[in-house]
């Protein structure tokens, strides 16, 4: 029999997280700081409205772009909260999570051989998505010295004649880094000078603790060359609902929509109904979750620094990204031994690409009690080194 697996599929490296995942499953009493999702349940009013709509028989396809009511509500929400202007009719697609949004965004702009710059450390799927679309991922390293912001010089250095686009994600998974308006302006100059397109994944936009999130497309003249990706997973604790959205100028949107209609048709309708309710009436629940993350962050970061894992203060998302350099172990060794010896699961930073080595991603989206126990166990572990 022939080998049926395509070269493209073969070329993508397996997820570095997989090994840990399998190991954790074999162990008991593990505190996992490795989960990239909220520990809260979806606010009940959102669940209730979705349940009701199912009872009413709302179980069909929606239009490719998604429910009109959801797009209208989103268009208003983005304008009001981020001064971000997108037409509900021409510039917005509801996607099956940001994952799909990312995939169709990349596929709609990348030709074989195109280079796509990726600010790293980054979410694990950016690079494979670019590879699958036939492009070449080019990592741009963000460093602790810059508080994991994208450094304009580091970006400029990586630009070649083949560069087509840049993917950024702020507030950032895995570092918790954010970009302010002035940070983004410096990037905007380079993006515009080099005629690049920008894909901005802003799924953690609602989770900032010091300053309000600045939407990339509102900076300088970036709007016309930006694809904004966002979704409901993180802000409203709706990861399993798989509802995201892609916003872009009409010409770009039409291209992404063609791919979306063939590969996905539409996002699940029950999820879309829940998302409408999230925008309508879950503001307070969202704020109280954000507030709880803030308290946990302060507590956890203080704890990490106390036990000898230096960590910058992450201003967004729900991840701490401490350095393990002082311990003399690599991030992978540290994470493996911490799991085996003290039953705390964290994700080695190198999984997230350039700039992640020697760091750990610790999600603080777990109860304060578990965070405290995890800190105690990590302290014990470090003392044995």
């Amino acid at each position: 029999m022939r080998n049926f697996v395509s070269k493209r599929a073969e070329e993508i490296p397996p997820s570095g997280i997989r090994k840990f995942f399998d190991l954790v499953l074999t162990m008991e009493d593990v505190i996992s700081l490795g989960v990239g999702e909220p520990d809260f349940r979806t606010p009940w009013n959102i669940c209730e409205s979705s349940i009701y709509s199912i009872e009413q028989g709302t179980t069909s396809y929606t239009s490719n772009k998604g429910l009109q009511t959801l797009r209208d509500a989103l268009s208003r929400y983005l304008a009001q909260h981020y001064n971000l202007r997108y037409s509900a009719d021409y510039e917005m697609i509801i996607t099956t999570g940001v994952s799909e949004g990312l995939d169709i965004a990349v596929r709609s702009i990348v030709d074989p051989g195109d280079e796509v710059l990726i600010a790293q450390p980054s979410y694990v799927s950016y690079s494979p998505c670019v590879t699958l679309a036939g492009g070449k991922p080019v990592p741009v390293r963000c460093t602790e010295k810059d508080h994991f912001k994208l450094n304009p010089d580091a970006l400029a250095e990586k630009i070649t004649g083949k560069s087509k686009a840049l993917i950024i994600n702020f507030p950032n998974n895995p570092t918790g880094g954010v970009m302010t308006e002035s940070d983004l302006k410096a990037i905007a100059d380079i993006v515009i000078d080099n005629d690049l397109l920008l894909i901005s994944d802003e799924v953690y936009a609602e989770l900032t603790y010091e300053t309000k999130h600045c939407a990339t497309a509102t900076v300088s003249d970036l709007w016309e060359r930006t694809i904004t990706l966002n979704g409901f997973s993180k802000a409203y604790a709706m990861t399993g609902w798989r509802i995201g959205y892609l916003c872009a100028p009409q010409e770009l949107l039409e291209a992404a929509l063609k791919i979306h209609q063939y590969i996905m048709l539409c996002a699940p309708v029950m999820g879309q109904v829940g998302a409408v309710e999230a925008l309508r009436s879950a503001e307070e629940e969202k704020n109280s979750m954000v507030n709880e993350y803030r308290l946990r962050r302060n507590m956890f970061i203080a704890g990490l620094n106390r036990i000898g894992l230096p960590c910058h203060v992450p201003e967004g998302a729900f991840y701490a990204f401490p350095s393990v350099k002082k311990t003399g172990l690599s991030d992978v060794e540290f994470a493996e031994r911490l799991l085996k010896e003290q039953r705390v699961a964290v994700v080695p930073g190198s999984v997230f690409g350039a700039g992640g080595e020697d760091h750990l991603r610790c999600a603080y989206a777990v109860s304060r009690k578990d965070l405290n126990t995890a800190l105690q166990r990590m302290d014990e572990f470090i003392k044995t080194l």
């Binding site: 997280i17 996992s32 999702e37 507590m299």
Partner: protein
């Protein structure tokens, strides 16, 4: 009262057993600052006390609770205040509120058993001057108290690690 005080109150309302040190690391205050603020809030009687939410049904002491509604004729110059203050002195009255609607005052009363609650209502509350009518509702089961659900909820399953 500033934003930090409000934050302290929200934290304590959810769990009053946290130590000043624990609250300090969450709020980026020092432990002594937290203690001083809590002390000031206690003196100003913004913080009225600390209690524990208990599922008495599970503790199995057989206590009975009832909601008692009262129609009251208000007094000239005092309205409902004087009678409400008198009622609130009874140990059995755990909560007392003035309400809009058919009845005026609403009491949450607890007692060792049904007899004790009904004796309290008929002997002490109903005969009071200015009380025109009472309605007693025995609480059969409590599902949620002060924001805490009292029924068992299964922890939703999460992946142990996810990107």
């Amino acid at each position: 009262m500033d934003e930090k005080d409000l934050e302290l109150l929200r934290i304590l309302e959810e769990n009053s057993r946290l130590s000043a040190e624990e609250i300090a690391t969450m709020t980026s205050l020092t432990a002594s600052d937290v203690a001083a603020r809590v002390c000031a809030l206690e003196s100003a009687q913004v913080i009225k006390g600390y209690s524990t939410v208990i599922n008495w049904e599970k503790a199995g002491n057989g206590e009975v609770s009832a909601i008692i509604e009262l129609k009251v004729s208000p007094e000239r110059d005092y309205g409902y205040d004087r009678i409400a203050e008198r009622l609130s002195r009874f140990r059995q009255v755990k909560t007392l509120r003035l309400m809009t609607g058919t009845y005026d005052l609403q009491l949450l009363v607890t007692g060792k058993n049904m007899q004790e609650v009904s004796r309290f209502v008929s002997e002490h509350v109903a005969p009071m001057d200015r009380i025109r009518e009472t309605a007693t509702h025995i609480i059969m089961k409590s599902y949620k108290e002060n924001g805490n659900t009292l029924f068992e909820q299964k922890e939703p399953e999460r992946l142990p690690i996810s990107p």
